[in-house]
C-alpha cells in the first residue's frame, strides 16, 4: 500500500472529526485546484472520499454550469466501481462524460458567458434558478436530439457508447435527459421538500410529491415515473414511497398505478443490490479494510434496506423475479457477515486482548499481564466486539439465526474464564507499581470487552472480583 493510499484510508476514518470550518476550507481549496487542470485524478479521489461529509455539511461549492446542470438529479448520483446500471440511480462517473457532450452540442461562447454570470453567485442563490432553467432546457433539447440521432442506426449508437466509455454511461445519459426535460418540475419539488435525506414521510411530504407527479404526468404520462425516482432518492427510507403512493391513490379514490409501483419496487431491489455490490467491491478492492464497527453499521443499514424492499415487493404483489433477486442479495450479505464479522471473531478478540502476553504462561506467573497492553490491538478488539453486538440485531433477518448470539455468548464465557483465571492468580501476589498498572489495564480491558459482549452485570462482577484480588 502506498503512502497516499494510507492517507486516504486515514482521512476516510477521520472524516467527521475535522472541524466544520476547516472542512469547508479544505473542500474550497481542492475545488479551486481542480479548475487548474492537469492530472486531477488524485483530487477527484480525495473529494470522493470526502463526499459523505460534503453531503451533510454542504459547504459553499464553486458555482459552475456543470454543477447547475446536475442539480435536478444530484440525489440520484452514487459512487460505484460497477458497470451494471441501477434503476433510478446515476453513476457519478457519468457527470464528466455527459457534460462534455453538453458542451460539444451547445454554443461554447454562450456556455462561457453563463459560467461568468454564475461564478459570482452562490450555488443556491435564487438568481441562479433563472440561469439554471436555461441550462436545463438547452441540455434537454441538445442531448435528446443527440440521442435521437444516435438511435437511427446501430453504428451511430455504438460510436456514442464508445465515446461515453460504456453502456452504463449511455443508459445514464438517457436517464439524465429524462430528468432535464422536467427539470423545472423536479426543482420545484426539491425546493418544497424538507432537507434531504427526508426522515419522515409526512402528509406534507406526500402532498408535495403528489402535486408534482401530477404536473409531470401533464407534461408526459411517463414522466411521473421519472419524478417518482427523484422523490425516492430524497427519502431516508425509500421503501416508504409505497405507503405514500397508496395514500395518494386513496385520496384520489383510485388504485395505485401498477406501472409506478412496479418501477418503485424495481428501483428498491436494484438499489439494494447496488449497495451490496459497492460494499463488496470496496471490501475486495481496498487494501485497507474498514474497521469492523463501521462495516457492521454499513451492513445493518443494508439489511434494513433489504427488509424495506422485501416488504415493498410483498405489498405491491410484484412478480417472483424480484423476490428471487432479493433472496440472492440476502444470501450474499449473509456470507459477507460470515466472512467479515463472525468468522474468527472469537480468535481475533481474544488474541488482541491478550496482546502483550499469554493468559496462561509467563515467567512471572502473571501470564503477560505485567506487561502493558497494546492500545491499538485493544481498540481493534473493542471494535470487533461492538460489530458482533450490532450484527446480532439483524442476524435473524439474514438467516444467521442464533449464530451471532451463540458467538457472543461463547466468547464472553471464554473471556470471563480466562480473566477469572488471571484474577485468581493475582490473589495476594506482590507486584511493583508498574506491574500493578499493567495488570489493572489488562483487567479493565477484559471487563470492558465482557460488557460489550454480554452487558454490564457479568462484567461488573468480574471487575469487583479483580479489584478484590488486587487488594487482597
Amino acid at each position: 500500500m502506498t503512502g497516499a493510499e494510507e492517507n486516504l484510508a486515514e482521512l476516510e476514518g477521520k472524516l467527521f472529526e475535522i472541524p466544520e470550518a476547516k472542512f469547508v476550507q479544505l473542500v474550497q481549496f481542492l475545488e479551486k485546484n481542480l479548475e487548474r487542470g492537469g492530472d486531477t485524478t488524485p483530487l477527484r479521489l480525495l473529494l470522493s472520499k470526502m463526499r459523505p461529509r460534503i453531503v451533510q455539511v454542504r459547504p459553499p461549492r464553486r458555482n459552475t454550469v456543470k454543477r447547475q446542470l446536475c442539480r435536478p438529479f444530484e440525489e440520484l448520483l452514487y459512487n460505484t466501481k460497477s458497470l451494471v446500471p441501477v434503476e433510478g440511480r446515476i453513476p457519478r462517473t457519468a457527470i464528466d462524460a455527459v457534460y462534455n457532450l453538453y458542451e460539444e452540442e451547445g454554443d461554447k461562447g454562450q456556455i462561457a458567458a453563463i459560467e461568468q454570470d454564475l461564478v459570482v453567485l452562490p450555488v443556491d442563490d435564487p438568481r441562479c434558478d433563472a440561469i439554471a432553467t436555461k441550462i436545463w432546457a438547452q441540455g434537454a433539447v441538445n442531448l435528446r436530439s443527440l440521442m435521437v440521432r444516435s438511435a437511427r442506426d446501430s453504428m451511430s449508437k455504438r460510436d456514442l457508447i464508445d465515446k461515453l466509455k460504456g453502456e452504463h454511461i449511455y443508459k445514464a445519459l438517457g436517464d439524465i435527459v429524462e430528468i432535464l426535460e422536467i427539470a423545472d418540475i423536479v426543482h420545484s419539488m426539491r425546493k418544497q421538500l424538507p432537507p434531504r435525506p427526508i426522515q419522515t414521510v409526512s402528509t406534507g411530504v406526500i402532498k408535495v410529491i403528489g402535486e408534482h407527479m401530477d404536473k409531470a404526468t401533464k407534461f408526459a404520462p411517463r414522466k411521473a415515473e421519472t419524478l417518482l425516482l427523484v422523490a425516492m432518492a430524497c427519502l431516508e427510507r425509500p421503501w416508504e414511497i409505497m405507503e405514500a403512493l397508496e395514500k395518494l391513490a386513496l385520496e384520489q379514490k383510485k388504485i395505485v398505478d401498477p406501472a409506478l409501483s412496479a418501477l418503485a419496487v424495481r428501483a428498491l431491489v436494484t438499489g439494494a443490490e447496488q449497495q451490496l455490490e459497492t460494499m463488496r467491491l470496496d471490501l475486495d478492492g481496498n487494501e485497507v479494510k474498514p474497521d469492523s464497527e463501521f462495516l457492521a453499521r454499513q451492513i445493518a443499514d443494508l439489511a434494513r434496506t433489504m427488509l424495506g424492499a422485501k416488504s415493498a415487493v410483498q405489498s405491491s404483489g410484484q412478480g417472483k423475479g424480484l423476490d428471487r433477486q432479493l433472496e440472492r442479495a440476502r444470501r450474499t450479505l449473509r456470507d459477507m457477515v460470515h466472512v467479515n464479522i463472525l468468522n474468527g471473531a472469537d480468535k481475533s478478540i481474544l488474541a488482541n486482548v491478550m496482546a502483550g502476553g499469554s493468559f496462561v504462561t509467563g515467567a512471572t506467573g502473571l501470564g503477560g499481564w505485567d506487561q502493558p497492553p497494546d492500545e491499538s490491538k485493544l481498540k481493534e478488539a473493542e471494535q470487533r466486539a461492538i460489530a458482533l453486538r450490532l450484527c446480532a440485531r439483524y442476524a435473524e433477518e439474514l438467516g444467521l439465526g442464533g449464530e451471532a448470539e451463540e458467538k457472543l455468548s461463547t466468547l464472553q464465557e471464554q473471556l470471563t474464564g480466562l480473566t477469572g483465571g488471571m484474577i485468581e492468580s493475582l490473589h495476594g501476589r506482590y507486584m511493583s507499581s508498574k506491574q500493578r498498572g499493567s495488570v489493572e489495564a489488562h483487567l479493565f480491558a477484559s471487563v470492558r470487552l465482557v460488557e460489550l459482549l454480554a452487558g454490564p452485570d457479568v462484567a461488573n462482577d468480574l471487575r469487583l472480583k479483580g479489584i478484590a484480588s488486587l487488594e487482597a
Partner: protein, 374 residues
C-alpha cells in the same frame, strides 16, 4: 433516606449547591443527571425529563445503583464519587477522568482522560511560571524569561529577584514563595488569559459565544411548521451567550488581579479571598457546558432531523445559573430564559422504563463524547 421519586419544588435553583453538578454518566437515562448535597448521606441526583414527565426528579444518590441498570463505567463512577471529598465541579470532573482513564468507556475516552489528567497536573506548574514571570516583569527592574526559569542558574536568578520583591513587600522570600504557590494553585483551575497552556475553563469560555451563534444559524434553517426546533435553538443560543457573558466577566476579574501583581500582593488576603470565590463561581457556571458543546459537535454531521432531536437533548442538558448567584441586573433576563427552559424540556424518549436494558447505540454515543476533543 427514601428510595422513592420526588419532583424538584423549584425549577430555578437559588444556589449552585441546590442546582448540583453534572455527572457525565454513560447510561443514557442518567446522562443529564446532576448530583447535589453536602455529604454522602444527603446526596441526591436530579434528573430532568425522566419517566415521561417534564419535571425534574430527585433521587437519593445511594439508591441510583438499585433503581437503574448502569454501565460498568457508571458503577465505577458512582463508587469514585462516593469517595470524593466533596461534590464540587472539580472533584466530580477529576473522578470522571480517573474512571474514564481505566478504559471502561472505551479506548478513545481512556486516551483523552489520560491526556487531560496530565494537563491538569502541568497547569499548576505553568501557572506558577507564568505568575512568577508576571510578578518579576511588573515589580523588578531585572528581566527574567521563561527559558531562564527552566535552568538552574535561571532559578537562582529568580530566587534573588523574588527575594528583592519580598523585601519590598515587607515579607520573607519563603512567604512570597508560598503565596505564589497558593495563587498558582488557585488560578490554575481555570487558567489565565495569556497562559501558554489553555485550561479547560478557558477553552469552554472561548467556545460558548460561537456555540450560541451556531444555534442561531441552525434555527434559521427551520421551517414555519418546525416552531419547536426554532424555539429550542433560540433558547440554547440565549443561554449560551448569557453564560459566556457572565463567565467572561469572572475570567476577566481573575486576569486583572494578575495584570496588577503589586497591588494584588499588597492586598494579599483580599486578593486570595476574591480569587478563590471567583474561581469557584466560574467553575460552577461552566459546569455541564463541556457536555453541551460536545453534544452539538456530535450533532453537526448528522441529518437535520437527528440534529433536531439532539437539540432537544442539548436543551435537557443546558445548565442554568441559579438566581442568587446572578448579579441583580441579570436576573430578569435569566428569569425569562429559565421559564422557557421549564416549558421546553421534553421527556427522555425511546429509553423505555427505568430499569430495562441500556440503549447500546446511545451508550456508545455518550462514550464518544468523552473521547471527543473540545
Amino acid at each position: 433516606m427514601t428510595t422513592s421519586f420526588a419532583t424538584a419544588e423549584k425549577f430555578w435553583p437559588l444556589t449552585f449547591g441546590e442546582r448540583g453538578v453534572l455527572v457525565p454518566f454513560t447510561t443514557p437515562l442518567l446522562a443529564a443527571g446532576r448530583i447535589r448535597g453536602a455529604d454522602l448521606k444527603t446526596a441526591e441526583i436530579l434528573m430532568p425529563g425522566l419517566a415521561g414527565g417534564r419535571g425534574t426528579y430527585v433521587i437519593p444518590w445511594k439508591s441510583v445503583l438499585e433503581m437503574f441498570k448502569l454501565t460498568v463505567h457508571d458503577r465505577a463512577l458512582h463508587e469514585a464519587i462516593c469517595e470524593a471529598p466533596d461534590f464540587s465541579p472539580r472533584q466530580i470532573r477529576l473522578a470522571a477522568l480517573r474512571v474514564a482513564q481505566l478504559g471502561l468507556a472505551g479506548r478513545a475516552a481512556s486516551g483523552a482522560a489520560r491526556a487531560l489528567l496530565q494537563r491538569e497536573d502541568s497547569l499548576e506548574l505553568v501557572a506558577r511560571f507564568f505568575l512568577t514571570l508576571r510578578i518579576v516583569e511588573r515589580m523588578a527592574t531585572e528581566p527574567l524569561t521563561l527559558a531562564e526559569l527552566g535552568t538552574a542558574p535561571g532559578q537562582k536568578k529568580a530566587g534573588r529577584i523574588l527575594s528583592g520583591i519580598a523585601s519590598s513587600l515587607g515579607w520573607t522570600y519563603d512567604q512570597l514563595h508560598e503565596r505564589i504557590d497558593i495563587w498558582s494553585r488557585t488560578v490554575s483551575q481555570v487558567g489565565l488569559a495569556e497562559m501558554p497552556t489553555e485550561a479547560m475553563a478557558r477553552k469552554l469560555i472561548n467556545r460558548l459565544k460561537p456555540l450560541g451563534d451556531q444555534f442561531v444559524e441552525w434555527g434559521k434553517g427551520e421551517t414555519e411548521d418546525q416552531i419547536d426546533g426554532a424555539a429550542d435553538a433560540q433558547l440554547a443560543s440565549d443561554i449560551s451567550r448569557e453564560t459566556w457573558r457572565l463567565a467572561t466577566e469572572y475570567a476577566t476579574d481573575i486576569d486583572v488581579t494578575v495584570k496588577q501583581p503589586a497591588e494584588s500582593l499588597r492586598n494579599w488576603d483580599g486578593t486570595l479571598r476574591t480569587t478563590e470565590r471567583t474561581v469557584h463561581k466560574l467553575l460552577w457556571i461552566l459546569d455541564g457546558w463541556e457536555q453541551v458543546v460536545k453534544l452539538w459537535d456530535q450533532a453537526s454531521h448528522r441529518p437535520r432531523e437527528e440534529q433536531r432531536s439532539m437539540l432537544r437533548d442539548v436543551v435537557r442538558h443546558l445548565p442554568v445559573v441559579p438566581r442568587d448567584e446572578l448579579p441583580s441586573t441579570s436576573q430578569d433576563v435569566w428569569s425569562g430564559m429559565v421559564n422557557s427552559l421549564r416549558k421546553q424540556i421534553r421527556p427522555i424518549s425511546g429509553e423505555g422504563s427505568l430499569t430495562i436494558g441500556i440503549d447500546f447505540d446511545h451508550m456508545l454515543r455518550l462514550e464518544k463524547l468523552k473521547g471527543a476533543p473540545l
